[in-house]
Symmetry: C2
Subunit: 236 residues, 2 copies
DNA sequence: AACAAAGTGTGATTTTTATCACTTCGGGAT
DNA sequence: ATCCCGAAGTGATAAAAATCACACTTTGTT
């Protein structure tokens, strides 16, 4: 969310982004550490300046459900805004060194409420986010695990995809089978088997941990995709 | 959402509700008809005055995923707010005769942006909603179909539950096995078998289509419930 | 009361998904 | 080059869930 999308769309959230960029307080983040963990009291949210952060829910039994992978320009911790006793619901793990700007939740709330153009942008942003989450989970639940994987791949094309000359789309993230499994709510082995079938069918190929989708339409067809707008059909 | 909760909580959204109640234009709704259907251009949202409306997504292959069942005091169609080219994403089917107040989307947006206490309440409302949706779908995906059903039952206790003298909780809705299946993303038969097992274990009982939960803790334990706040742990 | 319609309950079977237990591959580090 | 390690790949099996087919109940209607 609030990402500098690879598939260009004009920036509907210019004021909001600008405000966040003006934050004075920045923090370096190191791979393997946590920006925050679920349950922690939350007083700040973060704008990623560089590096990558993975947002996920960690279960009591060790299972992990991954929601998004955030890069430069994205905000994390936004779900704590406008809540009475704010605690992080999710865990933010740093997966690539970088730096974040820390924004005090209270300050930001103040600004969002008092600056009209910010108010408007924020409402638009939250609304888009709600629609996105709803469609995403619908996909994850309604067409079995295969549907969950296909939907995840389609959304990743929209979130992290780079269009190649030959028309294929490179998902510009290094993803292990396990990572993908965590996005879909399935197992590493299942993901592996499904990916290999798709490889054999020529729907995609994988090189050095990066997936290239050759036949996006095939994936869309299989989950009865209705071609929702790109700002809805992406990873959170 | 914005429901007059059966489990009392003070009304954090008093101004918002009041505004909506003041809408002049009301419409009678008849069981079996649709308040709106997905894909339709959306210019209004609705406050339910009486009757019941079911919000769901209908798939190309006939499958249905149910999101919520709304009664008096609840708003439907809110996902269209602050979107550029508004279309309903979901379908609202009337399941009990009643009446709704229709609110012009544009008017409401105007009010939400210009009246500060409304702005604040709306932001709180949307935020709560986002957290709720996220935790709900996490439950639906992470613990298999049994987890999906248990989570749905727990949330229904919070949304529609009436506490009985003996400590049990009556879910005050007439639900068919198929309805529950649509909430959980599973089949009627699976729901039936799971419910019967729970009956035998004394966890719940069913009388005239209404479920009473005797051992809520059992359900919570099975899905590693972390006792999130009631305003998060309910049906949308 | 009799009947139809809708919904529930259940066995048998198939399909999907997870789990377990390995083997193989590929890219650093020594 | 060789060793090592984490990840990928894969067969065998078990468990979970869906599907099919049909009997049984309940509910509402004439």
């Amino acid at each position: 969310m609030l990402a500098a999308k690879t598939f260009n769309q004009q920036d509907r959230f210019a004021h909001l982004r600008e405000l966040l960029r003006s934050a004075k307080h920045t923090v370096k983040i190191r791979k393997g550490t946590f920006l925050f963990q679920e349950g922690m009291a939350a007083a700040e949210l973060y704008l990623i300046l560089s590096g990558k952060v993975q947002i996920s829910k960690i279960c009591a039994d060790g299972k992990e459900m991954c929601f998004r992978i955030c890069g430069p320009g994205e905000i994390v911790g936004e779900l704590t805004l406008f809540t009475a006793e704010p605690r992080y619901l999710l865990t933010a793990k740093v997966i690539e060194d970088g730096e974040v700007a820390a924004i005090k939740k209270d300050d930001l709330e103040q600004q969002l409420l008092t600056n009209p153009s910010l108010t408007y942008e924020y409402m638009q942003w939250v609304s888009t986010h709600a629609r996105r989450t709803q469609t995403k989970f619908r996909d994850l639940i309604m067409h079995g695990k295969k549907g969950a994987l296909y939907s995840t791949l389609i959304r990743m094309c929209n979130s992290y995809g780079v269009k190649l000359d030959n028309g294929s789309i490179l998902i510009d993230l290094t993803l292990k089978n396990q990572d993908l499994a965590n996005f879909c709510g399935t197992t590493r082995e299942s993901v592996n088997r499904m990916l290999n079938t798709l490889k054999q069918q020529g729907v995609l190929s994988i090189k050095r941990g990066k997936i290239t989708i050759h036949d996006l339409d095939y994936l869309k067809q299989e989950i009865q995709c209705e071609n929702c707008p790109v700002d809805i059909c992406c990873i959170e």
